[in-house]
Assembly symmetry: C2
Amino acid sequence: MQKPTEKTTGREAEPISESHLDDLIGYHIRRASNIIQADLARTLKPFDLRMLTLSALAVIAGNPGLRQSQLADALEIERPNLVVVVDELERRELILRERTPTDRRAYALTPTLAGRTLLNKALKAVQDHERRLFAGIPDDLKTDIINVMTKIRNNG
Amino acid sequence: MQKPTEKTTGREAEPISESHLDDLIGYHIRRASNIIQADLARTLKPFDLRMLTLSALAVIAGNPGLRQSQLADALEIERPNLVVVVDELERRELILRERTPTDRRAYALTPTLAGRTLLNKALKAVQDHERRLFAGIPDDLKTDIINVMTKIRNNG
DNA sequence: TATTGTTATACTCTATAACTATA
DNA sequence: TATAGTTATAGAGTATAACAATA
């Protein structure tokens, strides 16, 4: 697949140029993000988790009792998209979803023991996935990148 | 919406913690990528382009005569997903799609004048979008980030 | 009136299997 | 047989409008 011998295709046998795109930093970020997403999906498959279910579970575990709207804000997703995620976590008994006494419109979300256990196992796998994917990148550059990504979110 | 006055919700009025997630660099990249994608979609809307149609058009313009399979490789997408993109570009007369004489299975893709013109206008808007989104980030850090993103693609 | 959560719906990007026509 | 392009289909993430229950 990586042999450079181009069969004649009616076109010059040069490498494909992406000159219009390859100084667009957003383009590079998006393509790397796709790779990360695909690798993360493979990583989470044994736990039957997706990125959204994992990150929802993680935020619930870090903030037991929070409401769905707070969770949606934290994950930066729209409330309707959270509903099915929370449905699934509840159905699998990874979280509890209880009406709050002070506001009977809202639900308080808390992780179950099974939820915490699964989360911890999955997070270990995710950390391995990150070590593999970001191997060879100095820690201070990683920190810079996290800061830049945060700044982008604020600029957007 | 950004007032920090938390109405009592049956839950302590602390900021939401993402402690399980916020040292995951991939998570930050993915969230920034979502912001970029949303902003780019807004940027391209006046041109009736999406990211995929723009990047396909850009690669075709930079490599006139290339085949669809080469384009799919360059964009790192699967061939089936490219078909509708090329269909649309052809229907809008932004590209030509001609059988190659040497291999009658393949198509040679070339931009039309209209395609080049639209591309140039859209790229200007995209560059503005990038300047806005990545404002305040030093150029050498941008270069580092592009290199890291490329490395991630190779690690994945 | 405004907010919480819900339903319905749609769009974009991505992925795989199976097909056709050429090679 | 292998490759180029296609069709069909599915999954995942994201977005908006409209609704019921509650505040």
